[in-house]
């Protein structure tokens, strides 16, 4: 994680993960596990906003490929 954050439209927080910073690993390990998992998921597929997509129907069954 570079630790570099910036704010867009006030409500958006951008933070870039950089796994080459081993000094940050202890900090990441202390991060809230829900937040940490989301950041890792975003790092794995960061470009998720460029293609218009359906919001998805409001059931909870869509993400079967996204198991815990």
């Amino acid at each position: 994680m570079s630790g570099k954050t910036s704010k867009h439209h006030h409500a958006e927080i951008h933070i870039n993960l950089d796994s080459t910073r081993p000094d940050l690993k202890p900090l990441l390990d202390q991060l809230n596990p829900i937040l940490k998992r989301l950041l890792e998921a975003l790092k794995a597929s960061p470009d998720t906003t460029s293609v218009p997509h359906s919001r998805g129907y409001h059931n909870v069954t869509r993400c079967k490929h996204d198991e815990d």
Partner: protein, 397 residues
């Protein structure tokens, strides 16, 4: 269809290439248009829409065959490798095991012959969900969404049968069965009642073993506002968020919260109640008509009717339907107060049916605007505080 009301929305200038709107990959199939429950808040039957009375109770195999062929050809025309089909209702299991077995065999045949991956899900009240159903769904990799509102005393307030009997006991049996079934893909949908406590609802579900939950904002709009004062839902969601975020050793996935956090962090929404995205999903009614988002029927009796039959119309024909166009262009209809809001990209105006007002159509903030803003601000404060700790410690050398 209340065409005159819809047309009061300024028809948006298209931000998509002509004839090339965002392509849905989700189809919600109303295979049974009756239910064995009579939930007080049901958008299908108890929010003023009576169009179901003119449709068959169940989708015929002839219609389902035609529908699958249309969806497959649509996917092929647009090079979509994967499509999701959600068995829905009413209560879809009322159609019977044999019909669903036939349908799953058909989808497998269509998938094999076209090379398109057809993922199937089902949204059920689970009162009929037994070992046979779970075995069938697990064998076919069908994902199962169960509707349940929490502990018995809270679930049975609204989720009752036509004789007034609560549904909890049967649903609980089904949830325990699912929790004990290896390989089952399942989760729970709960409609929020802010007179209850979110943390208690969540604890109830995690004690059962639920790993995926979504909490749904009740379907009200500017014509039919919610019965609770502003702030009650915000308090519910903030208390729920803090419990989920802070207290649970192994927190389940909660789609609404994760979508909000993801949007704040530059990602995408996985639920249709948040984010600036087109509402593009397509319904298929039991009479074989293509329709826009089904919850929009809370905005007016018959509003979602199109007359576009799967036997005579391609999927793309719905693109020209005014209400479907509004879903696609809903971002452009947001009023200035939304466009200038700090949370505009996260909130997206909230859930489309909650924006409706008879005289102004969908060009309004959500009826839950104040509560949404309070919840999203709360989430933002919480994660920003956590990330600030890292930022402070991680200034590049």
């Amino acid at each position: 269809m209340t065409e005159a009301v819809l047309m009061r929305d300024p028809m948006p200038s298209s931000s998509f290439a002509p004839g090339n709107p965002p392509l849905t990959t989700t189809f919600v199939l109303k295979i049974a248009e009756r239910c064995n429950l009579n939930c007080s808040y049901c958008y299908m039957y108890n929010k003023g829409d009576t169009s179901f009375l003119g449709r068959p109770k169940f989708m015929s195999t002839e219609l389902a065959t035609a529908m699958l062929a249309r969806i497959a050809s649509y996917a092929q025309r647009h090079n979509l490798p994967e499509v999701t089909l959600v068995l829905h209702g009413g209560e879809p299991l009322l159609i019977g095991h044999r019909w669903v077995q036939w349908f799953l065999d058909q989808t497998r045949c269509v998938a094999n012959s076209t090379g398109i991956s057809l993922n199937v899900g089902v949204q059920t009240n689970a009162t009929l969900l037994d070992e046979h159903w779970v075995a069938l769904f697990t064998e076919h990799n069908v994902t199962i969404g169960v509707s349940c509102d929490g502990p018995k005393e809270w679930n049975d307030r609204d989720r009752r049968d036509f004789n007034g009997r609560g549904s909890y006991d049967k649903v609980r049996t089904a949830l325990d069965l699912l929790a004990a079934t290896p390989g089952a893909h399942w989760g729970v949908l709960t409609v929020v009642n802010p007179e209850t406590r979110g943390s208690a609802v969540l604890k109830h579900f995690t004690d059962i073993g639920v790993r995926r939950i979504d909490f749904i904002w009740p379907d009200f709009n500017h014509d039919h506002p919610p019965p609770w004062p502003h702030g009650m839902l915000a308090n519910y969601f903030c208390e729920l968020f803090d419990y989920w975020y802070d207290e649970l050793p192994s927190p389940p996935r909660i789609r609404f919260f994760e979508s909000a956090m993801s949007l704040m962090l530059g990602g995408r929404s996985e639920c249709d109640a948040l984010g600036l995205n087109p509402v593009a999903d397509i319904m298929v009614e039991s009479d074989g008509t293509w329709e826009p988002l089904d919850t929009l029927r809370v905005c007016g009796n018959g509003m979602t009717r199109t007359g576009l039959d799967v036997r005579t119309h391609d999927v793309e024909d719905i693109w020209a339907v005014p209400l479907y166009q509004i879903g696609l262009h809903n971002e452009e209809l947001l009023p200035q107060v939304c466009q200038s809001c700090a949370y505009h990209r996260v909130c997206g105006g909230g859930y489309l049916p909650h924006r409706y007002r008879r005289d102004t159509g969908f060009a309004n903030p959500s009826i839950y605007c104040a509560d949404l803003l309070a919840v999203l601000s709360h989430i933002h404060r919480r994660i920003a505080a956590d990330l600030d700790k890292i930022r402070a410690a991680a200034v590049p050398a």
